[in-house]
């Protein structure tokens, strides 16, 4: 009877050892395991994923980050346009313009996507810097030694996303373990690429024919809403928006403007 009990205890011990071993293996050698324990193990240099996620969260949750991008898109891809049409208190940048009557417009922003990327980059740099500071402070509070260089960043607008790559050399060390981060990448869900591509096509059309057909664009891109509003001075205001994300890209053109009256 006693032997039977001993055998049972031994079996339980073996099972417990196996379970604990499996758990250790799971948390030490699998990505999911490392991710689960990283917030509760301060020394874990397996916290690399966490630093990246914290940084991404810091940027994406920043109210100004989203506001700045939305404002740039609403103003024709420019944070502070110089040449614009004011409509409902919003500056609609002229992307194709002719000051003269009866003349097709001249394309003012031929590489629109790159231009918008540059504007977004300028606008979000202070936010990135703020988040870097926050992450560094957080790591130092948790006992890490930190060495870092100045950061550099680039923005890439692609289908479905605005990607921001931060080239930032961060070395963290605690005890004998250290980790080096060379770059961070933030992906913001956005249909900006689709809207800007449609805008580029409209500009080409306006420069060529002096007008464009919103129905044709909406038929090809059902998720893109095109609103075209002609103004008194020959300006056409375009408001492009995504029907799902509700993002807006606005701009103005002035092509083949007609003079009022008899031009006496």
């Amino acid at each position: 009877m006693i032997n039977k009990k001993r055998a049972q205890v031994t079996l339980f011990i073996i099972i417990a050892v196996v379970i604990i071993g499996a758990a250790i293996l799971f948390f030490a050698f699998t990505d999911i395991g490392r991710e689960i324990i990283s917030p509760i193990v301060p020394s874990g240099i397996g916290t690399g994923l966490n630093v990246e996620k914290d940084f991404e969260k810091c940027v994406l949750d920043d109210e100004m980050f989203n506001k700045e991008i939305a404002a740039i898109l609403k103003q024709g891809g420019d944070n502070n346009p110089e040449h614009f049409f004011l409509y409902n208190d919003t500056k609609y940048k002229y992307l194709c313009y002719s000051a003269n009557y009866y003349e097709a417009c001249i394309n003012q922003e031929p590489l629109l996507i790159q231009s918008v990327e540059a504007e977004i980059l300028d606008a979000v740099k202070p936010i990135l810097a703020k988040c870097i500071q926050k992450i560094e402070k957080n790591l130092m509070d948790r006992g890490f030694e930190i060495r870092s260089d100045d950061f550099n960043s680039e923005v890439d607008i692609i289908t479905g996303n605005i990607n921001i790559k931060i080239l930032y050399n961060l070395r963290i060390k605690k005890g004998d373990v250290s980790k080096v981060f060379e770059s961070f990448e933030i992906k913001k869900k956005s249909e900006a690429y689709q809207l800007i591509t449609v805008a580029s096509s409209i500009i080409n059309f306006e420069a060529h024919y002096g007008d464009s057909d919103s129905v044709a664009y909406m038929s090809i891109y059902p998720n893109t809403r095109v609103e075209k509003l002609k103004q008194d001075d020959g300006t056409t205001v375009y408001r492009l928006s995504d029907r799902v994300t509700k993002e807006e890209f606005n701009f103005a053109t002035r092509s083949y403007a007609l003079p009022p009256g008899y031009l006496l």
Binding site: H83, A99, C105, I106, N107, L111, S115, L229, G261
Partner: protein, 595 residues
């Protein structure tokens, strides 16, 4: 002393010469490579040019630095037209004066099941974004053929082994390639089964049927998806467990035909498209339904199909040229009624027509077209006036064939008459006046409207003979005696109000203003006091309402919104402010003339 005087005179001469030269230069239109507000290549005043860039007192068409060309974006593969060299270079693009550079040649880009008619670089970019390989075919010359190629591709199940599991990926034959499949087990065999779904039992893969559905990019309908995430056939709740339906591809034309919660065979052109279901619209399986995207009970109380457009006129008539009136194009798209205003001041008008479909149903199409009115007044021949290919004018006859208004009087008119209306004595022109069919609005804000209305002001000398016993008797140009012949006055007013916002006219709200003109006989103004029958101001006041002049706060007449139309808020605000200003100015002009 003498030298000093000469020097002073020379200095003054030089100053005067240079200053006059500078002033002259300022007045001349200059081609600025860039203006101070950042616009490239504009013909503006010199003062607006950015001094850091080139400028010359000539048209930009004549300069080399503002030559327009194609700017190539080597990253996106896009070619932008009519771009000045400087604008392209500053944006790091590749500029060429060649209208059709080779890098902008279009071809057929096949990416998966989709096709795009675009440049080679653009094709690579698109394929890269979807993680696919670009299949670019430069020989295809048009978009329709390109789409045809994409649709003709073989579709089926691509079976392979990944991480020691037999699995499957649904797609095109070209996608079923060892180099394009993920995590392949070494030396695995890749097999393509045309027209088969990954859930086909005979393929023996790990992909199983599910009740999940999804929308597919480029497809109208709701599709089942299998446990591996592959597309299956169109969603049909009755076929969830139908083994046959999960074995081979069922063409759209043979799938279920309704668009209810049990069927996902949506038809974009027919007015339905795949969309996520909202609360209360849940389908029997999955989260997606065919959403109705037609428009019902629109602003004109009619129903329209997705993609249809129609015209909207302030007074319901196509030739509305009342002061402040404007045409609008309404569009039905994705279940929403979108309003597009045509050019203001009747610079454009809206036309519509409909196409009869095979099913007998009509499809309405509308568009704003340019109102070609500007050269109407200089047309002296009726045939030129009514040449609708060239202009949008109408002919108002004056003479024998002018109907009962002035018939028979033109012969009496000989000389002493000036002005468009009464130029009937001129043998070089037809007897009548050519005026815009839809009169344009005038530039009321710079005060030029009054002088423009004067274009049709006319004067006429009527000769009377006084008998010894009887009173005076008209002998020459009797036609112009508007006291005896009030219909001639009507004719004159008709021409006057046809050339623009001139003369007696109603505003877009229907308020008729019997002002804006005057008749003077022997220096005595008889103007609006002349009883011309229809212009009774008391009667006119009963019609319509005045439009609210937004720019003038002192103008306090009431504005009723009961007639406002069901268009978007932004368009509405814009329209009201504009039309209100025109009405205000016309009334102001009328008062100025009469005071």
């Amino acid at each position: 002393m003498k030298n000093k005087l000469i020097f002073m005179l020379a200095f003054i001469f030089l100053v005067l010469t240079f200053s006059s030269f500078s002033l002259a230069q300022l007045a001349v239109t200059t081609c600025c490579e860039k203006t101070l507000n950042g616009a490239f290549c504009q013909n503006v005043d010199l003062i607006q040019c950015d001094s850091k860039y080139l400028s010359s007192p000539t048209s930009c068409d004549s300069t080399s630095y503002c030559q327009l060309g194609v700017c190539y974006d080597s990253d996106e593969g896009l070619c932008m037209e009519r771009v000045p060299k400087k604008a392209c270079e500053e944006a790091n693009g590749l500029w060429t004066a060649d209208e059709n550079p080779p890098q902008c040649d279009l071809g057929c880009c096949i990416v998966g099941e989709q096709a795009a008619f675009t440049t080679l670089q653009r094709c690579k970019k698109i394929a890269g974004q979807y993680g696919l390989q670009a299949d670019f075919r430069p020989g295809v010359s048009d978009e329709i053929s390109c789409i045809g190629i994409a649709n003709a591709q073989d579709l089926g199940a691509c079976v392979f082994e990944s991480e020691f599991t037999r699995t499957c990926k649904f797609g095109t034959r070209s996608e079923c390639d060892v180099t394009k499949l993920p995590k392949l087990t070494n030396n695995t065999e890749v097999q393509f089964f045309k027209d088969y779904l990954c859930t086909a039992e005979e393929l023996n893969t790990n992909c199983q049927k599910t009740t999940k559905t999804t929308c597919i990019e480029g497809k109208d309908g709701v599709y089942f998806i299998d446990s591996c995430g592959n597309r299956a056939n169109i969603y049909d709740s009755s076929k969830v467990n139908d083994v046959k339906y999960w074995t081979k591809i069922v063409p759209k034309s043979e799938a279920c035909s309704s668009t209810s919660k049990n069927c996902g065979n949506c038809d974009y052109l027919g007015g339905s498209i795949c969309a996520r279901a909202s609360q209360g619209q849940k389908p029997s399986y999955g989260d997606f339904i065919c959403r109705d995207i037609n428009c019902y009970d629109t602003s004109n109380k009619k129903d329209y199909k997705n993609g249809e457009s129609w015209c909207f006129y302030d007074n319901g008539k196509s030739n509305d040229d009342r002061v402040g009136s404007r045409n609008y194009r309404h569009i039905c798209f994705m279940g929403e009624e979108i309003v597009e205003p045509c050019e203001d001041l009747r610079g454009e008008f809206c036309i519509e027509d409909s196409i009869e479909g095979d099913d007998g149903e009509s499809f309405s199409q509308a568009g704003c077209v340019i109102n070609k009115w500007s050269d109407c007044l200089i047309q002296s021949r009726k045939v030129d006036c009514l040449n609708s290919d060239q202009r949008d004018c109408k002919w108002i006859p004056v003479g024998e064939n002018a109907g009962n208004i002035v018939a028979g009087v033109a012969e009496q008119v000989t000389e002493g008459i000036q002005g468009l209306f009464l130029n009937v004595h001129d043998s070089r022109r037809d007897q009548g006046a050519c005026v815009p069919n839809i009169s344009p609005g005038l530039a009321f804000w710079d005060g030029s409207a009054a002088s423009q209305c004067d274009l049709v002001s006319s004067s006429c000398v009527v000769t009377y003979e006084k008998g010894l016993l009887s009173g005076k008797k008209c002998v020459d140009n009797c036609f112009c005696d508007i006291k005896q012949n009030p219909q001639a006055a009507l004719q004159a007013l008709n021409i006057c109000s046809s050339i623009g916002d001139c003369g007696p006219k109603a505003n877009y709200k229907g308020k008729f203003v019997n002002k804006g003109y005057e008749f003077v006989v022997e220096d005595e103004r008889v103007g609006p006091n002349l009883d011309l029958g229809i212009f009774d101001p008391n009667k006119a006041k009963q019609v319509g309402q005045p439009a609210e002049p937004v720019a003038n706060p002192q103008f306090t007449q009431s504005f009723q919104t009961s007639e406002t139309q069901a268009f978007s808020q932004s368009s509405q605000t814009q329209s009201q402010s504009t039309t209100g200003n025109i009405v205000k100015e016309i009334i102001t002009e009328a008062y100025k003339k009469l005071s």
